[in-house]
Amino acid sequence: MRAPSLPTTNLLRGWSMWQTQHQAAAVSSWKKLKARPLATFLTWLLVALSLGLPASLLLTLNNLSAVTAHFERPPQFSLLLTEATDLKGATQLKQTLEGWPGVASVELIPRDEALTQFSALTGLDALLDSLSRNPLPHTLLVAPRNAASDAESALLVQRLEGIEDVARVVLDTLWITRLEEGLRVASRWVLALGAMMLLATVLALGNTLRLTVIAREEEILVVRLIGGSMAYAWRPFLYTGLWYGLGGGVLGAMILWLFCGWLVGPVNALFVLYESQQRLQWPGMHYPLALLGVAVFLSWSTSWLACERHLRHLERH
């Protein structure tokens, strides 16, 4: 009678066999890549560049978004009053507006104060001194209530424009809104470009891996002939894909760091000139890790596809 086999022993043996085979496939495919360093490096560069370019664009975009997020932007209207309105009229209008339900606060900037601020900001003292009279009107800064929706704001603007003493209503945040819309367009553009680059990577890698499979057709046939499973025959190619992805991902992350290193000086100098506290955001850990992840996933699944298409075909003949 046969002794009953212990399932744990079988499991352990299966596990160690699986490990040995994977290790062997990983090492042998790595050695094959190492034997052709230039071709391997070029494939890494292909993966690195086609992922690094969209990643750098995305990083740039994130930097810009961070800048706009830092702008103080309580939605605020500047009411430029007519020439004819004097300080008394302006103060009266301020009090009236403060009573409006949609208005949170109103600040009056008298024309003289405005001129002082303007000359201090621009340094055009000499020019302004030469003017015979102050060209600036009195200004009211109107802050609507916080939760005001776009429609409510629009209605408020309409009502403000209707006031006799008001020459013009200027929405101070319009340019930020425009910039944000611009950034949204740019981010879509980056995503579309990124998708195209990814597709191009898959096609180029797919072709490289297909040629690898063709070059090793005899080996695959012999392996199948002496009882290697499909998984066994596929494994070296899947590992080749994995190495391409890992190498390309690491190289891509390095390119991203170089890109930032190259930009950091001028960009931060620009921030300083604009008196911003903002500094260039480095890729940190999550950018390189995401890039590596995408590279590995792409290369591995591309090699899987190449195997699926070519080895199945081989199997039928």
Binding site: V222, V223, G227, G228
Partner: protein, 220 residues
């Protein structure tokens, strides 16, 4: 025990095998012969599941193999050692690594692999060429590497397709002696060959095929 039960293989309207009946006993050594196109290679291909019959049934130790698919095919093939006229060695790796391939597939540990590969190479007289590039070996030596690869995992069956096809009579005789040695330790051996002068000197069953049917030597 290998049994072919009214097996046919048709390519278009040409029959490679027609209602072939054949039985090889456990531990037997037999030769499959006939002129080219008689169906020798087709029998071996069907046996290795490299091709499927158009009709009939093939049984190995009583189990129908014609229905096997997927992973079962790979496991089934590991019960066979196969030797080919063109050796089918891989020239991108050493003699040792060629012979080690079936053991790697079967999941042996690296230490066991080295030990068994050396034993197999010793049996075929090539222990000194372990690290050699197979391309640097002579035709007879390459064939012996092929045999070492076929027997290294101790298969139940050893099959060979024209193993002496490119060798001179002296080398051919040595190769056949090797097959006989493996048969003596219990391996069932089936060899397709048309080297009649050689096999007539050996006392084993000779199965003759003609136009896809057995015309002589079928014991059953």
């Amino acid at each position: 025990m290998i049994e072919f039960d009214r097996v046919s293989r048709r390519y278009g309207d040409q029959y490679a095998l027609r209602n072939l009946n054949l039985a090889i006993d456990q531990g037997e050594m037999a030769f499959l012969t006939g002129h080219s196109g008689a169906g020798k290679s087709t029998v071996l291909k069907l046996l290795l599941l490299l091709d499927r019959p158009s009709g009939g049934e093939i049984r190995v130790n009583g189990d129908r193999i014609t229905g096997l698919g997927g992973g079962a095919v790979a496991r089934y093939r590991r019960r066979f050692g196969a030797v080919f006229q063109d050796h089918r060695l891989l020239f991108d790796r050493s003699v040792h690594d060629n012979v080690a391939l079936p053991l790697e597939i079967a999941g042996f540990s690296p230490r066991d692999i080295t030990r068994r590969v050396r034993a197999a190479l010793d049996k075929v007289g090539l222990l000194g060429s372990e690290r050699a590039d197979p391309a640097s070996l002579s035709g007879g030596e390459q064939q012996r590497v092929g045999i070492a690869r076929a027997v290294v995992a101790r298969p139940e069956f050893l099959i060979a397709d024209e193993p002496t096809g490119n060798l001179d009579p002296q080398l051919s005789s040595e190769i056949m002696s090797l097959f006989e040695a493996f048969n003596q330790v219990g391996v069932t051996v089936l060899i397709a060959t048309h080297d009649m002068p050689l096999i007539c000197r050996l006392r084993h069953r000779i199965i003759t095929l003609s136009s896809g049917s057995v015309v002589a030597g079928d014991a059953t």
